[in-house]
Subunit: 264 residues, 2 copies
DNA sequence: CATTGAGTTGCGACATACGCAACTAGGACC
DNA sequence: GGTCCTAGTTGCGTATGTCGCAACTCAATG
């Protein structure tokens, strides 16, 4: 999102360049939103004449971007979209899309940023961007970390059903006095995470270590990864944590958006 | 090479409707094929002036359909495509109904689960749920895959008549030494699939790749989609495959039931 | 420092895409 | 079964929006 240029244009609706193309793409958006729509309805939304809408739709249809119910029916998105999506996802993975956002987050917060995914019975760290602070936690990438004792773990678990959680956690070993060791507490924590959309863990894995994590979701809304900011507890007090929570959430949401989440 | 000459000068192709929209969509096709391209390159493929290509691309960018590498870079498909794809699959009731079942199957088996439908002359993957690791190894969604070299393909073909099969497979290209390349063998395989109610493909598309698929049927009993579990051959040996076959069949049957099959 | 090559923008000519209105066909209501 | 009504489809002339040109900016390369 080219920072400057875009901000100026989306105030109301600026002439985006090629009118008919803009309209055609808007039709796709409309169909994405409504699921199905007739020519007249589309024309209404666009504020153009029926025939114009029809021709645009016909062109989209020729490219497989939309399909018609049958003979005379309404229109809906077509498989051409999926073909394009295939080509997009080919080069799309969480780490790549998240990298620039993580860098920015690390620079803004000064703390270490991590991306983690669920791997069998543990949290797998797949990327890390160090903060500016000299006091550096070691590199977690490639490490397997307990699911129940980290903010990332709780976020990842929050996307699973209760059964799946139990299956992945036969035991709840303790690492510090603050580690969650009972299923009841864990269940409560996960419900809270689901509700709030973030997780915080203070001194649960290691004394003096605080982390804030938020979920990264794919186009279907599934939690596929977790993004966290972590640092020493003395730097991340209650106040600072409160400040950082929305920042972490925004970053995670932005990554999710890049992965196609947000249409629903 | 499919296009570039869509609306050129010759009358081979019927006027596709709106020229600029046609060109814009062709740009998306080009980017899907090349992965990345600059304005000049696109203009060359389209046979139009640089500035024309630029304006079309700019319009696509305003809708998030393409993105620019940075400041002055090349263009590639953007996240808008994924948003649309999400809306497209959300509309397919097969995907909707199958989603939760797929997730369970993926969790239970630890392998990747796919839903595929027949699209012209290939298998079109419309949904995928990764196995143990939430990090998707390779997302096939939107990809077109040969019909005769995959378990999904065989399942989908098994619902067609012999004539239809021939019509969709003018040739049987080989991908590995184990690919089915003769019609006689294919016919035998399909008969077996019909008889057994599942298909297995080992090293037929790619060496080291094994897949098990079963049909999803609608209320009329037609095969409308295929559900598969796939993974590396070293993890899916004979024994494991034998274990998984009924599991895959059960899952597919459950989806079929939700779509109204067998309930009447 | 010149040069090349890429993306970007103002402008005028003219091709094109638009709106209009007439047409067709399916469905609903009588 | 007929008639009306709605919604998708098509021919046509014209104003509109789009295209090609050429000039510009900016980076990288020599």
């Amino acid at each position: 999102m080219r920072t400057a240029s875009l901000a100026s244009t989306d105030g109301t609706e600026a002439a985006p360049g090629v009118q008919s193309v803009d309209r055609a793409l808007t039709i796709l958006d409309i169909l994405a939103r409504l699921g199905e729509a007739g020519v007249t309805e589309i024309a209404g939304e666009l504020g153009v004449h029926k025939s114009t809408a029809f021709r645009l739709v016909a062109t989209l249809e020729a490219h497989g971007m939309v399909e018609q119910n049958e003979g005379r029916g309404k229109y809906r998105l077509g498989v051409g979209v999926l073909r394009l999506a295939g080509a997009t996802t080919a080069r799309l993975d969480v780490v790549q899309e998240a990298r620039s956002i993580c860098r920015k987050l690390a620079a803004d917060s000064g703390e270490t940023v991590n991306i983690a995914v669920l791997s069998d019975r543990s949290v797998l760290y797949v990327d890390q961007v160090a903060g500016q602070s000299a006091l550096q936690a070691h590199n977690w990438v490639g490490q397997h970390i307990p699911l129940h004792a980290t903010s990332n773990g709780k976020v990842l678990l929050s996307g699973l059903s209760s059964d799946e959680v139990d299956a992945r956690l036969p035991r709840l070993p303790s690492y510090t006095p603050d580690t969650v060791t009972t299923r009841a507490k864990l269940r409560r924590d996960l419900a809270l995470v689901r509700d709030q959309g973030y997780a915080v863990a203070v001194d649960e894995l290691e004394i003096g270590l605080t982390a804030i994590a938020a979920p990264i979701r794919n186009a279907h809304g599934d939690v596929i990864a977790s993004l966290s900011v972590s640092g020493p507890t003395f730097r991340l007090g209650d106040l600072r944590v409160k400040e950082l929570i929305p920042v972490v959430q925004d970053a995670a949401d932005e990554v999710s958006r890049r992965l196609g989440h947000g249409s629903s």
